[in-house]
Structure formats: structure tokens, C-alpha cells
């Protein structure tokens, strides 16, 4: 918990809201990066976003964005949603069906005072690859396209904070990679702080700088995602999900005709199934944490094609698993049994090898590179 230290983030909050039997009681701050709001369904994530956006009114407490009071119970301050400049992306996009894609994207921009327009609509459209869709009706779009339009619509009003409510919940795995890389790109490019609701640990690990874990309406952990999500207090949630590493890369060898593919992730080359993509195409490597074997020495005479050296950065026991974060240039999460950790005598800082088969890898589409 970070409540003891000084709140210094972009957004500071401390509020309570009661809805029937459910009580949301949160306290904390969000930084300028991407913060993941994590927790099982019914833990209060969406209620919290709605309070931040001003769609719900808290019972008491305070919400302060960049030094401006958005809500303060003691002085009865309540800034209505239309004057908060907080972008909100709904689960399924909530696009206006009676407007074109362009009409949707410009809706918030039009209502932004000229002096507050820091984001260029054309730039956002290009960043999210929406150019060819602008004249279409939202009802004719695919799920991934809808989410991109919803994100563009929220960005076009130059929000001081972008809230995303499980933007990938309704997308299939292939599209998740695309939206994920678009979100990374947006954040890098526009520097808008984001709060990202998710119940996928893989997504959170791939995207977020920070994480806040809610359980039953209360924050139970916060901090660096790989630490927080593996926190024993959160263990109950983690055990339910097969964690995947989602690694950004570019195709180095397309493969095919019996030859494997290759993807460069950071400074390492990973042998993958044939990519079906051109060289230099952006791609996301999905690799299950359970699929990786950890060896203390370089194994020989082994059929697995990927043997990558790395260093153990973290070892976190969670339930009946120990999660090792291994730095191979990028952090990779490996699931181990406590028995294996004891037997191998694994410790933090130890040099190890990651071993995994080509067939354990799935390749996901990443967002195409925006034209320069």
C-alpha cells in the first residue's frame, strides 16, 4: 500500500461510494504512466472509473486531477463529467450509431475549447490507423476497429487522463495484440496518463507501469505490476489464469516451407513457427509462463529450439507456484513449482537459461507501423 507516502501522482483520490451492499473505499494515486486497475469481477473497478469520470458521485472523500479538485465532499465540490476532461473508453466502445466514424471521433474534439486542444485529430486518426474508416458507420465495424475508434474519440478531446474499462474484454486473442500495441504507441506518443482496467495478468504485465489491485471494493496491493500481481495477497486471483508473456518484436525471418520463423525481441532472436509475415513486420510473441523450462546451465542435446541466457530478477511464491522474472533483455515470467526452486537452489541474481519449444509460441498481430 502506498497510502503512507506522500501522494505525488497526476491523480490523487480517496473516496467512498456505497451501492446497496457493496462499498467501494479506495485511496491512492496514479502516476503519469499506464496504471493497471486489476481485480476479479465485482471488485469495484468499473465503479471506481465511473467515480473518477464523474458519472457516479462518491459519498465522501476527494478526487484531485493535476491539482484541480474534481470532487471534494467537505466543500460539496463536484465537477460534472463534461467539465472534467477525462476520457473514458467503454468495454464495447459505446460508439454513437447515428454518426459516422469521423463524427464520433470529432464529437469530443468539437466540444473542447480551442485553447485546450493539445491533441491533433488527424494525428490520432493516423496513429490508430482509422483513415480508411472515417466515412463508415460504427455498426459496420469489427470489434477491434470499434475499440480503436472509441480510443480515438476519447483522445481527440485532449484528456488529462484516459480511463479504459476492459477495452479488450470483447476482443478475440488475435485482436488483443493489435489494441495492446496501439495503446503502447499512444502512450509513448501523446504522454497522456492512462488507467487501464483489466482482469488479464498477461495484459497488465505487457502494458502497465503501475498496478492497483482491488478486492471487494478495497485496494489490496499497489506498485510495480510484476511485484504486485505476484503478491501473496493477490495470489488467489493469479492462480486462475494461465499467464502469458506478451513480447513486442519484429519479424527477422518469415519462415515457411519447413523453415521456422524468427522474431527479434529487444536484442534477442526467438525461433518461432513460420510467421506468415514480411521481414520487419511488427508482431507480438505470446509465450505461456508455464511453457518455459528453466535450466541452471546451458542444456545440450535438446530438441527445443530456443535456449536463451538470462538473469533471475525476481522470485515470488504465489499459491502452489513460484514465479521467476527472468531478464533476457526484456523481462519474461516463468512459472515454477516450489520443489523445483528448492532443488535447483534458485536465487535472485542467478544466471540461468530459458528453454522453450517453437510450438509453445503464438504470434499475435501488432498494430501496423503508422506511415511517417
Amino acid at each position: 500500500m502506498r497510502t503512507e507516502r506522500d501522494k505525488s501522482g497526476v491523480l490523487q483520490f480517496s473516496f467512498t461510494r456505497t451501492q446497496g451492499d457493496f462499498v467501494l473505499d479506495v485511496d491512492g494515486d496514479f502516476g503519469p504512466g499506464i496504471t493497471a486497475l486489476f481485480g476479479p469481477s465485482g471488485s469495484g473497478k468499473t465503479t471506481m472509473l465511473n467515480c473518477l469520470a464523474g458519472l457516479f458521485r462518491p459519498d465522501r472523500g476527494e478526487i484531485v486531477l493535476n491539482g484541480r479538485d474534481l470532487y471534494r465532499g467537505s466543500t460539496k465540490t463536484f465537477v460534472p463529467p463534461e467539465r472534467r476532461r477525462i476520457g473514458l473508453v467503454f468495454q464495447d466502445g459505446a460508439l454513437f450509431p447515428h454518426m459516422s466514424v469521423a463524427g464520433n471521433v470529432r464529437y469530443g474534439w468539437r466540444r473542447t475549447p480551442e485553447g485546450d486542444r493539445r491533441v491533433d485529430v488527424d494525428h490520432v486518426v493516423e496513429l490508430l490507423g482509422l483513415g480508411p474508416l472515417m466515412d463508415r458507420s460504427p455498426v459496420s465495424l469489427s470489434g477491434g476497429e470499434r475499440q480503436r475508434v472509441a480510443i480515438a474519440r476519447a483522445l481527440a478531446m485532449s484528456p488529462g487522463l484516459l480511463l479504459l474499462d476492459e477495452p479488450m474484454a470483447s476482443l478475440d486473442a488475435r485482436l488483443r495484440g493489435v489494441v495492446l500495441s496501439y495503446l503502447r504507441r499512444i502512450h509513448k506518443d501523446l504522454q497522456i496518463p492512462m488507467v487501464y482496467v483489466s482482469h488479464s495478468i498477461s495484459e497488465v504485465l505487457a502494458l502497465a507501469d503501475d498496478a492497483l489491485v482491488l478486492s471487494d471494493g478495497r485496494p489490496v496491493a499497489s506498485g510495480q505490476p510484476s511485484r504486485v500481481l505476484l503478491d501473496p495477497a493477490v495470489g488467489g486471483i493469479v492462480q486462475d489464469e494461465a499467464i502469458e508473456n506478451l513480447l513486442d518484436g519484429t519479424v527477422s525471418a518469415p519462415g515457411g516451407d519447413g523453415a521456422p520463423g524468427g522474431v527479434r525481441v529487444g536484442s534477442v532472436d526467438i525461433v518461432t513457427p513460420p510467421t506468415g509475415r514480411a521481414v520487419d513486420a511488427p508482431v507480438i510473441v505470446a509465450l505461456g509462463a508455464e511453457e518455459i523450462i528453466l535450466a541452471t546451465g546451458r542444456p545440450s542435446g535438446i530438441s527445443a529450439r530456443n535456449i536463451l541466457p538470462g538473469t533471475i530478477a525476481e522470485l515470488e511464491p504465489v499459491g502452489n507456484r513460484v514465479y521467476a522474472t527472468v531478464d533476457i533483455g526484456v523481462p519474461v515470467l516463468v512459472a515454477l513449482t516450489p520443489g523445483a526452486v528448492d532443488e535447483l537452489g534458485l536465487v535472485r541474481g542467478q544466471d540461468v537459461y530459458l528453454v522453450f519449444k517453437t510450438s509453445s509460441i503464438k504470434l499475435l498481430d501488432a498494430a501496423p507501423v503508422a506511415p511517417a
Binding site: 463529467p81 454513437f96 447515428h98 464529437y107 458507420s137 474519440r153 476519447a154
Partner: protein, 228 residues
């Protein structure tokens, strides 16, 4: 102006004034019923629907008592509303009101409230959300409600004759004019007005269809999306 034409003009005016009264109030009430958690909702709905279930004559008699010289609102309008065209409008408005509210409720219920919330978060105040999201999305249903209300007001008879009387040139609308001519045995004049009445009904339906077609992007996109 021929007496027939003046009857038609009066009928249109009475119905138009009735709509001026019933549509905004009906919209407001429907919006509250759909979007707000109100206590005594059942009671409100029952009261609103009552004129639908009662014989219009009863509604007219009720109005006569309330607005009449000895009624609680009798002195409110100088010589009183009773036996004026405004009384005819009021009677028509009340009889058409349940049909309008019921159709509006269905229309507004079809608008996803999250779209309104999304518009709020994008910087639109409540009134702008109403004009740019709620009304365009409910357009077809709202048009249908307005049409049904207008047609009902045009054909109002029972309540009107009690509270507004049947004064030629002042309160004698089409249905009353037809009734009077039938009573007088003037079949030719009655049939003339019946034909006018049918023409008016058809014209209203055509106007409604035209307004739906040029419902702008809203109508077109909705048809493209859900009509196919």
C-alpha cells in the same frame, strides 16, 4: 373562407396547440420514467394512462368541472377556458397524452444510457446530450409518438364536445362538424367533410413518412444497421 375550410383550419389549429402542450410535457415525463428511479412510478403510469381507459366524455366532464365557473381553476383565465378553442386543445391534449407518453417511453428506452454517459464524458452538457444523442437515436419512435398524438387530437370528439361545446367557427372541429351535419340530415355536407377528414389523415401519414426519411444520418444509419 368557406365554412368547410374554416372547419379544417380550426381542427388543425386545435390539434397543433394540443401537441404544443402535450409533446414537451410528454417527452419530459417519458424521459423521467425511463431515466430516473422515481418513487410511485406505478401510480404515475396509471394516472397518465387513465384517459386512455376512460370514455372521453368522462374526461371532458372532468375538465368542465375543473375549469368551469365554479371549479377550482374557473377564474384563472378571465372569462374561463370553457367553450373556447383552447378548451378543445386542452381536451385533445389530455386524451392524446397517454398515447404520446407510452410511445415516447418505448422510444427512449431503446437508447443505450451508456451512449449518453459517453457523450457527457466527451464534454457535452445534459441538454447537448439530449439534442445530439438522445433525440436523434429515438427519432423514429418520437416521430411515431407525435404522429399518433396528432392524429388522436384531430379525431377527438367526446371530451371536446363536453368542455368546448360545438360552436361553429369557434369550437366546431371536423368530427363535431360531421356529427352536426349528420344530425341535421345534410348527408352531402357530411360526406364532404368525411372526404376532407380522410384526406387529412392520408396527408398526415405522408408527412410522417417524409420526416422519417429525411431523419438525416440518424434514420439512414439506423436503417443501414438494424433494418437489413
Amino acid at each position: 373562407m368557406s365554412p368547410d375550410l374554416s372547419i379544417v383550419m380550426l381542427s388543425l389549429r386545435v390539434a397543433a396547440v394540443a401537441m404544443l402542450l402535450a409533446l414537451p410535457i410528454g417527452f419530459g415525463l417519458a424521459w423521467i420514467l425511463v431515466r430516473k428511479q422515481v418513487r410511485g412510478r406505478f401510480l404515475i403510469e396509471a394516472v397518465v394512462s387513465l384517459p386512455l381507459a376512460l370514455p372521453p366524455v368522462v374526461v371532458g366532464y372532468g375538465l368542465l368541472i375543473v375549469l368551469g365557473g365554479r371549479g377550482p381553476f374557473g377564474g384563472l383565465f378571465g372569462d374561463g377556458l370553457v367553450f373556447t378553442a383552447y378548451a378543445a386543445s386542452l381536451a385533445s391534449a389530455i386524451v392524446a397524452f397517454p398515447l404520446i407518453v407510452r410511445t415516447f417511453v418505448v422510444a427512449l428506452d431503446g437508447v443505450d444510457p451508456r451512449l449518453e454517459l459517453a457523450a457527457r464524458s466527451l464534454g457535452a452538457g445534459p441538454w447537448r446530450v439530449l439534442l445530439t444523442v438522445t433525440v436523434p437515436l429515438a427519432y423514429r419512435g418520437l416521430m411515431a409518438g407525435a404522429l399518433i398524438g396528432f392524429v388522436r387530437a384531430l379525431s377527438e370528439f367526446g371530451a371536446t364536445i363536453v368542455v368546448a361545446g360545438n360552436i361553429p367557427g369557434r369550437t366546431q372541429t371536423l368530427p363535431l362538424g360531421i356529427f352536426t351535419r349528420i344530425q341535421a340530415g345534410d348527408d352531402e355536407a357530411a360526406v364532404r367533410l368525411v372526404v376532407v377528414s380522410i384526406g387529412l389523415a392520408i396527408a398526415t401519414l405522408i408527412a410522417h413518412d417524409y420526416l422519417l426519411r429525411r431523419g438525416g444520418l440518424a434514420g439512414r444509419r439506423q436503417r443501414a444497421g438494424f433494418g437489413a
